[in-house]
Symmetry: C2
Subunit: 129 residues, 2 copies
DNA sequence: CCCGCGGATGGGAACCATTGTCAAATTGAC
DNA sequence: GTCAATTTGACAATGGTTCCCATCCGCGGG
């Protein structure tokens, strides 16, 4: 019996921030943004809600080079990301060829329960100048 | 003026372990293996040597789902990995098409200084049964 | 509208991989 | 062998994230 998450002020605030952001952001960045917005939310709560949203596939998560987990509200469906290291600006990209390639490689070597990670990092035009 | 690294017992021991392993392993796992082998090396030293080897591109590094950094001595040249989550067994894979695809996507959106990460995780035949 | 259950919150402690510190040991050139 | 410079290692510190638990509050029932 799975219970529906409660509609709390904190949950709404986190969701609203994600709605407004267009790039990936860390839990701590989101926590700061909430404070500046006056909608203060405990750091633990921010982590919990982000994780819950990520688990239910409502938002995407990825790890940057520093080992931080970044979150973003993306379009639905499987896709990958072109992310600016400096500002977080993100372009969603689809690579059907890559998907098939990865699956066939794995099958070829007898691997099951297969998943893949693919992200492209760079510096966007804005940040480069 | 870059000085050549010294040929210490510890550095040799770490290199020897990497030589013998065929899958990815964490710094702590390697530290344990060294102890069991009788060639005890300080944990900090294991970390330092692995990082140095990784920086000089003599070994590959990747992060698993738990956020740990894993290391492996691979063949030279750019490639990706099919890794067993359970035992670390690894198959090196090349994907020239993916390389070109990633670069063109990035260029298309005006990103520079581009890099990509691509790993395939699964459960290998052995571990599945 | 009022109660009461159980999920949600938050502040601080705990975790844990990794990095920093620095005195002591080791290496390698001369 | 001597000596400066690098490396080591035990331990402390870091930092993102998770855990703990007393308190709070959303929400369904009465
Ligand atoms: Zn996405
Ligand atoms: Zn994909
Ligand atoms: Zn490799
Ligand atoms: Zn590649």
């Amino acid at each position: 019996m799975v219970s529906t998450p409660r509609n709390t002020r904190q949950r709404r605030a986190v969701a609203a921030i994600l709605e407004d952001l267009d790039g990936f952001a860390s839990a701590q960045e989101i926590h700061d943004l909430l404070r500046h917005r006056g909608e203060s939310v405990g750091l633990s709560t921010v982590y919990r809600n982000l994780q819950a949203l990520s688990d239910s596939a409502e938002i995407d998560a990825l790890r940057n080079d520093d080992g931080e987990t970044l979150y973003r509200q993306c379009s639905t469906g499987h896709h990958h990301h072109l992310v600016c290291r400096a500002c977080g600006r993100t372009v969603e990209v689809a690579g059907p060829t890559v998907e098939r390639w990865a699956d066939s490689i794995a099958a070829e070597h007898g691997f099951v329960d297969v998943a893949h990670t693919l992200e492209i990092f760079g510096t966007c035009g804005n940040c480069a100048s």
